[in-house]
Amino acid sequence: MPDTQALVNDFLNKLKKRKIEGSQATAKQTAELLRSVISQTRVPYTNQAAALIQSVKAVGEGLIAANPVELAVGNVVRRVLHIIREEDLSLTTAAMAGLNLSAVSDDEDDVDGDNQPVLSAAAIAAASRSTLRPPSLQTLLEDVPDSAAVPHTSSSGGDSEGKSKSADKSSRSRKLKHDVIEAVNELIQDINTCHEQIAEQAVEHIHQNEVILTLGSSRTVLEFLCAAKEKKRSFRVFVAEGAPRYQGHLLAKELVTRGLQTTLITDSAIFAMISRVNMVIVGAHAVMANGGVIAPVGLNMVALAAQKHAVPFVVLAGSHKLCPLYPHHPEVLLNELRSPSELLDFGEFSDCLDFGSGIGAPLLHVVNPTFDYVPPKLVSLFITDTGGHNPSYIAEIYQLFVMSLRGEDMKFKSEIMKTNCIAGGNLVKS
């Protein structure tokens, strides 16, 4: 078993150097890395959940900082944290139900929260928040008012439950870790199969003799179109090449090898072609909390063209792309400027970039953003691995998603990103 730290460093480096392309790959690798982090974490005698959360948080923070633009990393980290809490909670509930100790533990928890110097600041904060906060959906559903604080109390919190139960607890701890790893495996499985799950819905959306327009290249879109083709749908695809990286060329090639009638057009021809198109289907980089989409550059133009001609604009996104953040500052936080060499040849322009003459400042500025922001009003439909969602329910999708997340994890993300993200509890309320 390789050293986890080495694995983490390696992955950090890859993220930093932008060596992993595509959010699915990133999400999968993040989940796998966190799984090995969890399995390598030395589980203390008691209160394993806190230890696991601690180590996942530590790694997660680093990963998010390494490439803040790749939102899938943060999404997966949050999902894993959520899994740990869920599993811990269900175990605790089971244990407490069995031992009928709920009232006692409630009292002791409060005491612990007050006079435990060992308690980490974060844990105290979390614990106090959870008591101050109006009852979250989670707790309401579980019907165990304050047990959420249990995993945050330090080891002595467990001691108070009595040494007699230590044997039981240790078995519980092993069980916890095992359960968590199982759940993370499921998550990885979900990420792996998100393409197929999305593609399964293809026939419902693509009809006979339709013309589909897409831009650039997305694995999800490819699988989606091919799934429809396999179900004997006959349709045509227009592929906009997607300057400056021209990944549309690759997509066109791939579609043709799979036997689809394909037309390749330039990005600038989109508006001319859109009137012949029945549906626009594109992939996304991330789906934000307000239903806006962070997508490869050029898609906003496509969306506007589609709106002008009342063509449905459909976005395919795996659930690992759903991000609980608002795109307040898309150009700062959520975009990345890549090298101008993708746009033009340095050698040919080297004389324009000679700072020795003239005013000594560059007159030529080459901007190569990676992403576009498509506002929610331009999106007609989201198709995720959990099913198709009517556009008017975008906020609802988001709520579904947020419901599955704990307030602490939301906070965790926003602390790192230093955004104005609304605190987790409020989000749940809204």
Binding site: V332, D351, G360, K418
Partner: protein
Amino acid sequence: MGAQKKGATARVSEDQEELARNPLQAILLADSFATTFRPITLERPKVLLPLVNIPMIDYTLAWLESAGVEEVFVFCCAHSKQVIDYLESSQWSSQPNFSVTTIESHNSISAGDALRLIYERNVIHGDFVLISGDTMSNMSLTQVLQEHKERRKKDANAIMTMVIKKSKPSPITQQSRLGTDELFMAINPVTKQLLCYEDKAERSKGFISLDKTLIADNPSIILHNDKQDCYIDVCSQEVLSLFTDNFDYQHLRRHFVKGLLVDDIMGYKIFTHEIHSSYAARIDNFRSYDTISKDIIQRWTYPFVPDILCGSSAIKVERQGAYRASDVTLSRSAHIGSFTFIGQGTKIGNDTKISHSVVGEGCTIGSNVTIEGSYIWNNVTIEDGCQLRHAIVCDGVIMRSGAVLQPGVILSFKVVVGQQFVVPAYSKVSLLQQPTQQDSDEELEYADNTSGTGELRYKLNGDIATDLSETAYELGTGGVGYIWSVFEGAQDEEWKHSVAPIPTDKLVKLMLDKDEDEEQLTQDGNVLSASGELKADSDDNGSEDDDNADSRDDYGFFEKEVEATFLRAVHENVKVDHAVLEVNALRLSYNMASVDCAGAIFYSMMKLAVESPHHSASELHRNAADIITKWQKLLKSFLHDIDEEIEVILKFEEMCLESAKEFAALFPQVLHLLYDKEILQEDAILRWADEKEGADESDKVFLKSSEKFVQWLKEAEEEDEDD
């Protein structure tokens, strides 16, 4: 199936080979062995100087790491302790799969010495990347390594592959955008072999010479002047042993590359690899520091850009290429322009304008400050109302209120500029005094540490009044630091390598010079180089006879040239001997006979006589006499026999008819004069007269007018015969 299986096994064996190979190694020279960054490099090694707020060596190491290099040997010489300390405390000491080993030396004075030392250590076991610690790149090494290996398999003498990149030099200054001289490379377009490398082409001559065997040996050669040497070399082990064998190799390019190219005894070959979409450049001087900083801010080096390299310290890119750290204290009225970097913890006051600049960490900038195109490092204090244009300001500098830095100024560490003081353009200011002896280019940037720091302390304490007053004198009231004087001869060159853009008047001057040169070149054609040397061109021989019209034109040009030469000789009092030489050179290059020269010179002389002011015929005669007397020797040296003398008379005749009719009346007198001066022999005149006897009436005008003189000559001859 069989074939497939075979393919599979072959791949497996290849993989094994791949596994068995040595890890890719790199030698990083953390010393430029040059003095271009003085005075800054007296206190800190060049590789640790911040480039957009990150030490240069970090860019180089980050690139090496991402390009798949596993082992780097950092060779430190000047300030080796600082480099080693930095590397030990940095992230590089704890990277998995990437080891950084330092090699320290104190007596190496060149790249050659460094490589010899590394060879002795015996640490390099295969192909390696040779790079200096001031090189930025984001290229992938995979392709160049593969090319290099494949070439090596075919030809064991292919020991080095140089990375080059297209970059046009400025047509006016003839230097690249990195401030280096225009580079000429001759490359075989098929094999990519480097055949000639010339970075110090003589500008005045405007040509470079190629060995003619190159042309014989290679079916085609392309001569490039628009390629930039990236100073990234993939080398085989032999390179190290070559340095050891040739202990006089010092400089990587000037000695090693040129040595190998010129000396073909060993038969070693150098190849080139051109990169297109990736970036690579080396910081050689202040100009390239400026250029590469701007390239980084414009993200050509992506992903090696500040916001990604810094990572956690949260630098964000805003519109118009403005990079800003998260905790900058910025006044509401301050204006941060485009392409600007503001580091952590920096405070900026009211109405301050900053554009195209880099401001480091922990700086305090007052109100109403203007900063334009400047590089301000860490912990600098700039008080209200200062103005900085195209300057480099090192750590800990204090600029008192109202101080002004003119373009091209370098302020080294902890200098203090006094109130309202204007630091003149291109000056370099340091707390250390300028080393007294003039350093050669080869000298290493090695500060005499003991004396340096001693002096520093003494300066800072400012105990001694005389000393303070001296520095105060140099940098205004309250200023501390010495302004370095520019070495003799380098004064003119200062603008070339400075951070400041080249001033317009310089550009205009250069442009005019160039136009003149070009004019001269086109006018002279292949005639004369400026030095008056001669470039014989024998090919013209044949073509000339083919076309009569051509040769007549040639004569016309020739005549003009001779006239110009003669006039210059007259006006500049050139010695007759020299004038003779020049005319001779012209004769050879235009492939003329001495008859033509005589005619042309005589024509020029007469023309001069006519053109000089005169009022009457007698005055004109006197003019002609003066000129002939003075320049008779010139004329005579082309009059070897009678034919030439006759030509002169004919020429004179022609002139009197056409261009200089004033002489018509004076014809006999001038003829007599020429006879008197022994320029024309009587035989020549008589022959001329004889020839003219049979001519048309119209042609005989001058014969008739000089009949008396001819008659007299004949009589004299007869008398002689009688005797």
